[in-house]
Assembly symmetry: C2
Homo-oligomer: 455 residues x 2
């Protein structure tokens, strides 16, 4: 029962470029619109928020975008990350399927998030920025940006969704140990926060509100920029190191996936593992089934509308076309905080719309069942977000068993759950519930989508 | 500020044998004595507690003990672990010293402990054992044995020091997720526990008491054995994979340590990195200064007596000659729970007695200062235990600066602190105190050392 199959690349195999899916898409994604003019935004519109290098990556169409050497230098601390064959899990499942997983929990912050935090910190530092402002839900992103900020000598301020701020003091402590400051959101430090608190003094907060606060602060000062941990094209771009390494590692294994599974919140870890394989398919390579797994309590891909919407609650961001539950939708408080966002990355939404990927939604209890089975078989305890991918992969493996077919399944184990043990305590204590969103609230949020003429 | 220098071996370099320091010592360590007869114990005396393969390793004198292939298979999940040059820390310190650290936090349990948990589980499984019983303080060892038990299909029962059981529910949850059961100690499940509770119903527990409980349970059933996470020769032996890899990695770096620093509780992570280098020295290789760093609140090497003593409070274990504070000594509740043990490994004590190593003791606040500096420079947040090694290495580097000399410093960063964030919260909140042990209690504990005629 002890067999380990690990595919490890040496560090000369850290990718030298990020892969840009836009270069290979059969149709371009719809443009991002200015919230005032409803016209496509230009680079200058985004300049108050991001350094120009990241804005150019946001709209880039070249297939390969070089990774700066100082970024690769930092990646070397934990990259290339390992790819494992889950032989022990296969045996437990008695499946003829071959299950592989890419493990991103080896980063210092414990997830895939540093893959983009590091280049974002680098480009901002290079542009003379002194301070980064961001938001975080469960804290994976905030602690990753805090890590990157410490390495590049940038001040980092994080608006943390208040309910998580109170429930997850350890993630907050990690950010503070890296030298970042952490403010519960909604706060009295911004107009957006004050407006929310005026309506409801004890508001638990949401990612949409925290984004509004961070954007508002970033727009006020020239030496301060905004950073986002998912959703945007350049964030997804940076995560493609995951899929590129996985391709090389599947090659080492002499195998190629029939199915790729990733969990989706904003879409970045999913895009990271999927886009390089999808690009190869679009350029004439082997067709791969791709399955996005999302939480049933926040099901943007399976229950949202594909429509223009704001990224934040106060409507300070540009409008993007995406699968959305409406920017006023507040998902219930399930444990996978990284998946509690009302919208989906425009690029992931676009390929869903093009029929290139499937999506499925699961409730959290069944995902924790899968995560515990995985931990006991493979020895790694997954984050609650990652449990969704584990569940998706196990279901695919059980389908293989039912059909008597051997298929090759690859999934992204995007982070470890060492900061999420309360969720496991609740699970073992029988306190984990399958939370449902409010259908009436969803209807209202969708009815409130901004009216946008065909662009 | 982003330069990463990592030395990574491919998995063909996972050691094929453990290195046994006993083969190269100028004088053998004093024998282990039977508590009844005061005569040296034989293998049969230990058979109720350990499988014969581990007993033979305990007394082995061969230099190289082969690592079974199924153990190497599991090691491959995270080994070889990386060796880093701490260039960013060197810059912060403005030291001419070169600082290297071996990082054992990459294991699934987050520390060096699985290096011995895995072979212990393997040999027990091979001997037909069904259940392992052990104790744990902070939980690093308990969760590592739970991990190994899950992989080899062994039931694992952990007696966890009650104060840690209550303070660290997340470590407990990790053990339970791996399928182990966890009991607060002292408990009513053993005679040893009942006797303690009869004296003091709210006793906070200690490692010495938890060991008594685990040993008592293990001795009752043929299908049940005991496992210990440090102190014993075979445990230290298993950890030598750390130092062997580090030697190969220093070789890759074209360098060799002038000073090696490790933190010491029971002595196993220290022995792991030190013994292979010390062995090379004893066989005529380069002399290395070796510094053991221990907590000032539990200073066995710097304030203990080198004497025969029991490993546990109820005096169920054999007597070993070691630096001890007395088996009734209860250290104050500082955060590095893995260093709160009254004794030191007999082999580490022996080489201290032979003058082959130095020892120094630090209070916890200065160790956390060092740990936070390290986290911000190197991006890895150390466990409170590891902060002692960080502090020792920084002090050596500052000595180099004061003397204007460049020396090569190597230390073992034995684990990450993701399960120890409350300690960091206390630190930033100004609540961390430099706890002192009770001098009168120490004097009494030392006065109570068993009387042993020269063996």
């Amino acid at each position: 029962m002890s067999e380990t199959v690990k595919y490890l690349l040496d560090e000369t195999h850290i990718p030298k470029y990020w892969y840009n899916l836009a270069a290979d898409l059969p149709a371009a994604a719809p443009p991002v619109l200015h919230p005032g003019t409803m016209q496509p935004v230009g680079p200058d519109d985004l300049a108050p928020l991001f350094p120009m290098e990241l804005i150019m990556q946001e709209v880039a169409t070249e297939r390969e975008i070089p990774i700066p050497e100082p970024v690769r230098e930092v990646y070397r601390q934990w990259r290339p990350s390992p790819l494992f064959r889950a032989r022990r899990l296969e045996k437990v499942l008695q499946t003829p399927a071959k299950i592989y997983y890419k493990y991103e929990g080896v980063s210092p912050a414990g997830s895939h998030k540093p893959n983009t935090a590091v280049p974002q910190a680098f480009y901002n530092k290079q542009a003379g920025v002194k301070r980064l402002v961001t938001e975080t839900g469960a804290g994976q992103w905030g602690s990753s940006l805090a890590f990157a900020g410490a390495l590049f000598g940038l001040e980092v301020k994080v608006f943390m969704v208040r309910v998580s701020y109170n429930q997850k003091p350890y993630r907050r402590a990690l950010m503070e140990t890296y030298g970042a400051s952490c403010t519960p959101s909604p706060s009295n430090e911004t107009q957006a926060g004050k407006a929310i608190l005026a309506q409801r003094a004890e508001h638990p907060g949401s990612l949409g509100i925290a984004i509004s606060e961070a954007v508002e602060i970033a727009a006020q000062r020239d030496d301060t920029k905004y950073a986002l941990g998912s959703v945007l094209n350049h964030v997804l771009l940076h995560q493609t190191v995951v899929g590129q390494e996985a391709m090389a590692q599947m090659d080492m294994a002499g195998d190629y996936p029939d199915v790729i599974v990733g969990c989706t919140g904003g879409g970045s870890n999913f895009a990271g593992i999927v886009f390089p394989f999808l690009g190869a398919q679009l350029r004439g390579g082997k067709k791969v089934r791709i399955v996005a797994v999302e939480p049933a309590a926040c099901p943007s891909l399976t229950r949202g509308q594909y429509a223009y919407d704001f990224g934040d609650t106060a409507h300070l961001t540009p409008l993007t076309k995406m699968h959305t539950l409406g920017s006023t939708f507040t998902p219930p408080g399930f444990h996978a905080g990284g998946l509690r966002y009302h919208g989906m990355a425009p690029l992931v939404s676009h390929i869903k719309q093009l029929g290139l990927i499937e999506a499925v939604a699961y409730h959290q209890t069944t995902c924790f069942d899968a995560g515990v089975m995985f931990a006991r078989a493979e020895g790694i305890l997954p984050a609650p977000e990652a449990n969704h991918a584990v569940k998706g992969a196990i279901d695919e493996a059980l389908k293989c068993k039912a059909e008597g077919k051997s298929r090759t399944i690859l999934f992204n184990l995007c982070g470890h759950g060492h900061f999420d043990m309360q969720a496991y305590i609740d699970y073992f204590g029988g306190k984990l519930q399958d939370l449902e969103y409010d259908e009436a609230e969803l209807a209202m949020a969708l009815a409130g989508l901004p009216s946008v003429k065909a662009a």
